[in-house]
């Protein structure tokens, strides 16, 4: 019987159950409040609807908690029970393979289509379904129980003088607060998971070896010196900023100081398009157009130098993927981040400052250079910092156009690798959470998070201070 129950579509069932419980409870509460009569009815505090909401709230919330708990923990509960029942020889299987095996079991169980000859597998699949049936049934039972208890308790409180509206509003306010707190929970989750996995990594690999080691070879041998990755990240971000900082800044200056409203109205949205294009598209562009052109340019420079006798060996590496290609395209991507924020801060500089400069006989460019830019400098620096943080954390462009080789090379046409490229390389495909290889990705992630956090915090603080100054 439990096997059949294992096929229950829990998602839809729980949704329907929650909806039914809530609406039923609402009507019960409302009808009860509508029937108030006698002398007490004159003291009614809240309208009947609020009594309905109150009962519905107390019925819905316990059931919702059970449903969410089942949704998040149900599968792992079933699996851990199944693993504890497996025959002893299964326990020798390494974690990843067991996970893959269990994935196959759950897939076969869900589709109910296993027709092969492996009797053990079939038996495990059946047992999996049974356990799942039990868990599902108890989740539904628990949800109903919670709902009933809440319903009964709430109904008993409905009397004419009951301040149902205040209670409901307090409940809604709590919900609003919890939603806002999810942002905190996300940060805590990020920091906790990164720290936890990184500490496990540093228990095996010394911290300083990771930070200052110069050999990175996580895929094949266990060499975890991340310095080449930091170098690659720095190099590509530098190239990107060499493009984005002048272009973005000058574009912002032109748009805010020189351009008429019509030009501004056209150019600004077009620049914003650059920020809206998915990064994977930039990556494809880098791979398809930019990297090959840079390679042929590098080859041309090599042959020209050799034929003119200036060098005897090729000067540039001229790889098919290169730091320059990735950096160039990333620079284009980052332009709007610089230009739009700089534009905002330049616009926020009070007109009186400009007028004063013009009155002294300054030309427009002198006004910009000596008055507007110094006044807007903190904001501009903040926008550059945010852009750097964006460039460091950018993933798809470098994954597609920077390469996989960890090395320290100042040649921009050589392929370099970055922190984000290695995180993707380490965590794509089947991963086991116990090997240093996987854990190193979290250590890299921690470094990435810490660095970008520092940049962001400084930038946000500067922007805030700056806004206060001219507001």
């Amino acid at each position: 019987m439990f096997q059949q129950l294992g096929h229950l579509p829990m998602g839809w069932l729980m949704l329907a159950l929650l909806a039914m419980l809530a609406s039923g409870a609402f009507f019960v509460g409302r009808v009860q409040a509508e029937r108030f009569s006698g002398p007490a009815a004159a003291r009614i505090h809240s309208r009947p609807n609020y009594h309905g909401y109150f009962v519905a709230m107390w019925t819905f919330v316990p059931a919702l908690i059970v449903a969410l708990g089942y949704g998040l923990m149900g599968e792992s509960l079933v699996r851990s029970q199944l693993v504890s029942e497996l025959p002893a020889n299964f326990l020798k299987i390494p974690g990843v393979e067991l996970g893959v095996y269990l994935d196959a079991v759950s897939r076969a169980a869900v589709h109910n289509d296993y027709t092969g000859a492996d009797r053990v597998f079939a038996a495990i699949t059946n047992r999996y379904l049974e356990i799942q049936g039990v868990v599902k049934l108890s989740a539904i039972g628990l949800a109903l129980l919670g709902a009933t208890v809440g319903f009964v308790l709430a109904r008993r409180r409905i009397v004419p003088g009951f301040r149902a509206r205040n209670r409901v509003e307090a409940g809604i306010e709590l919900m609003l607060f919890l939603c806002a707190a999810i942002a905190i929970a996300t940060t805590v989750g990020i920091i906790a998971s990164l720290l936890y996995e990184s500490l496990r990594f540093f228990a095996e690999i010394p911290f300083w070896d990771f930070l200052f080691g110069t050999r990175w070879n996580a895929q094949t041998s266990a060499e975890f010196g991340a310095l080449p990755l930091f170098f690659g990240t720095f190099m590509i971000a530098l190239i990107a900023m060499l493009i984005a900082a002048p272009v973005g800044l000058f574009a912002a200056i032109y748009l805010s100081e020189y351009a008429g409203p019509k030009v501004r109205g056209w150019v600004k949205p077009i620049l914003e398009i650059l920020a809206g294009i998915p990064t994977v598209v930039y990556g494809f562009f880098a791979l398809l157009v930019v990297a090959p052109s840079i390679r042929s340019l590098a080859v041309w420079i090599n042959t020209t130098l050799i034929s003119s006798g200036l060098t005897s060996e090729p000067l540039l590496a001229a790889q098919p993927t290169s730091a320059l290609a990735a950096g160039l395209v990333m620079g284009i991507m980052v332009i709007p981040f610089v230009s739009s924020l700089s534009d905002d801060v330049i616009n926020a500089v009070p007109q009186t400052l400009r007028d004063a400069a013009y009155a002294m006989g300054a030309t427009k460019s002198e006004t910009v250079k000596h008055v507007v830019l110094p006044a807007a400098l903190p904001g501009i620096i903040a926008s550059l910092l945010l852009a750097v943080s964006r460039a460091i954390g950018e993933t798809m462009i470098v994954v597609m156009a920077a390469g996989q080789r960890a090395r320290i090379s100042a040649d921009p046409t050589a392929d370099l690798t970055t922190i984000t490229v290695q995180i993707v390389a380490l965590l794509t495909g089947e991963t086991e959470f116990d090997s240093p290889k996987t854990l190193s990705a979290f250590a890299l992630g921690l470094v990435l998070f810490a660095v970008t956090l520092v940049f962001n915090l400084i930038a946000l603080r500067v922007v805030q201070k700056y806004r206060e100054k001219y507001d």
């Binding site: 574009a251 620049l271 809206g276």
Partner: protein
């Protein structure tokens, strides 16, 4: 006019200085203009290069076969249930192969030629035909017209993407004499002058590399490869058709720019393809299968349907979580939060989260949702959760701005007629802020739709051949499909990837268009 007013600012030195300052002003302005020009140029280059590639994938070549659905082949005894027929790819494929062998009987002689001939269409391309026949068993035994995509390399060749052929019209061939079985000698007094001239032009450009290139002579559906060219005569190895087709004809010569060893299509295959095209059996049609097929290892039958559905499911999960939570959080922060330390921390925190690299959210998903909670890998559910956490700050910031723009007089009026704080917010402020919140939500969703990196870390990069039907099935998403196709080695994937990018960009343009419309329609100044 000669008497210049003298003074400290009017002397020659000062005027020179002024000129210099004005020149600096012009220069500065030019820098600004060129910065904008650079950005616009980069954008148009990006759009143009992708659009150009995508256009070539908008159509593709299909081959038509008129075959009899022989029950012995497609539904032999014991394997004739609909399920068996729909799986009988080999049977259907052998129908097509024998049809090709009938068309080109010379290829039947050796095994390699038979294989090469079979390569004109992919084995798996007959799968939809097999399914159609399995659904309509009455068709078995009758004749049927089957159109299947041409091999991707030949498709690219016909589109001119493999090599730019130089075409030369040959003069009238006066006589044809067969030397050995397949070797033919064609002669005509001035027939090959154009060809010789073209070859010497090419030799002047590229040197002796010309000698490695194939020269194919085509007349009707017969094609031969030139082995030796002399004044007024050419020795030709016949590839398809008969040498008689050249007698008295004016054939066309193609000099294929890449030597045979450097391309994936052989001269023989090109000859067959040209012959089929001459017979009218190859036609160029719109590439709808890009939207209706699922992923495949063969570019000619691959499509983005599974990824589109996967993206939609992921977005559904994201929208269900991020939009309500984002709106509620912004209402709390804007309307209810007391000004204290905790609120301040939440605010700083949200601004920070908006700038955290997206890949960090992928790490969070991998560690917490996959590792800790044990949710299924590669599922839109997990992808949606991760993207929801990622877009949440964006939506909160936009919603707060929308709520802030509702003037306090609205709140005061509601409170003044006896509404509670909660009623004033939900009955009055929220509806007025609605359009602004909606635009913020759509922009957040557009960002989530284009996001790739977090999805890679939670395993949505797996090869998915089936259309996912629920958020817990294995799935992939459009941007991830773009990534995995772009890393494939075969040339044919490039235009296909560009075409998928165009599909993704169309979704994004639509979402942004809705935002613009909403702003136009509902923007209100208080």
């Amino acid at each position: 006019m000669t008497d210049v007013v003298q003074g400290p600012f009017r002397n020659e030195k000062a005027l020179r200085r002024l000129k210099k300052r004005r020149a600096a002003d012009v220069r500065f302005r030019t820098y600004g203009l060129s910065a904008i020009a650079f950005a616009l140029l980069a954008l148009s280059l990006l759009v143009a290069s992708i659009g150009f590639q995508a256009v070539s994938a908008a159509t593709y070549h299909v081959v038509r076969f008129d075959v009899v659905l022989d029950p012995q082949v497609i539904a032999p005894d014991g394997e004739d249930t609909p399920a068996d027929i729909s799986r009988n790819v080999d049977g259907f494929y052998s129908l097509l192969r024998s049809d090709l062998l009938e068309t080109f009987p010379q290829a039947a002689d050796d095994r390699l030629s038979r294989l090469r001939l079979g390569d004109l269409v992919t084995r798996l391309a007959v799968l939809p035909v097999a399914r159609t026949v399995a659904e309509n068993p009455t068709r078995i035994g009758r004749s049927m017209t089957i159109t299947v995509p041409l091999n991707d390399d030949l498709d690219l060749y016909l589109k001119g993407a493999v090599s730019k052929d130089a075409r030369v019209h040959i003069g009238e061939i006066a006589s044809v004499s067969e030397t050995t079985q397949n070797e033919v000698s064609l002669s005509g007094p001035s027939a090959f002058r154009g060809l010789e001239a073209m070859i010497s032009t090419l030799r002047a450009e590229d040197g002796d590399a010309v000698d490695a290139r194939s020269v194919l002579l085509t007349s009707g559906s017969s094609t031969g490869r030139v082995t030796h060219l002399e004044t007024g005569a050419a020795h030709v190895t016949m590839l398809t058709g008969s040498a008689d087709a050249f007698r008295g004809a004016r054939p066309v010569a193609r000099i294929i720019a890449l030597p045979e060893t450097e391309r994936n299509v052989s001269d023989q295959q090109i000859a067959w393809t040209l012959a089929l095209k001459e017979m009218g059996r190859i036609s160029r049609v719109p590439h709808f299968s890009l939207l209706t097929n699922t992923d495949s290892t063969y570019p000619e039958i691959a499509g983005a349907l599974a990824a589109i559905v996967g993206s939609l499911l992921t977005m559904l999960v994201t929208a269900f979580i991020a939009i309500p939570v984002g709106i509620f959080a912004s209402i709390y922060l804007e309307e209810f939060a007391p000004r204290n330390r905790l609120t301040e921390i939440i605010e700083v925190n949200i601004n920070n989260l908006a700038a955290v690299p997206s890949i960090v959210f992928g790490l969070l998903g991998a560690a917490v949702f996959l590792g800790f909670f044990g949710l299924p890998r590669s599922a839109p559910l997990v992808g949606g959760l991760v993207l929801a956490l990622m877009t949440l700050p964006t939506i909160i910031i936009a919603s707060r701005a929308a709520l802030k723009s509702v003037p306090p007089s609205i709140r005061a009026a509601a409170l003044g007629v006896g509404a509670s704080k909660m009623q004033s917010v939900f009955h009055h402020v929220l509806p007025l802020a609605g359009p602004g919140i909606l635009t913020g939500a759509i922009l957040g969703m557009a960002r989530a739709l284009g996001e790739t990196a977090p999805l890679l870390l939670i395993g949505m990069v797996a090869f998915v051949a089936d259309v996912p039907s629920s958020p817990t099935d294995e799935a992939t998403a459009l941007p991830v499909l773009i990534f995995s196709w772009s890393t494939n080695a075969e040339r044919a994937w490039e235009p296909m990837t560009a075409a998928v990018i165009v599909i993704l960009l169309m979704f994004l343009v639509t979402m942004n268009g809705i935002v613009v419309l909403l702003r136009r329609r509902f923007e209100r100044r208080w």
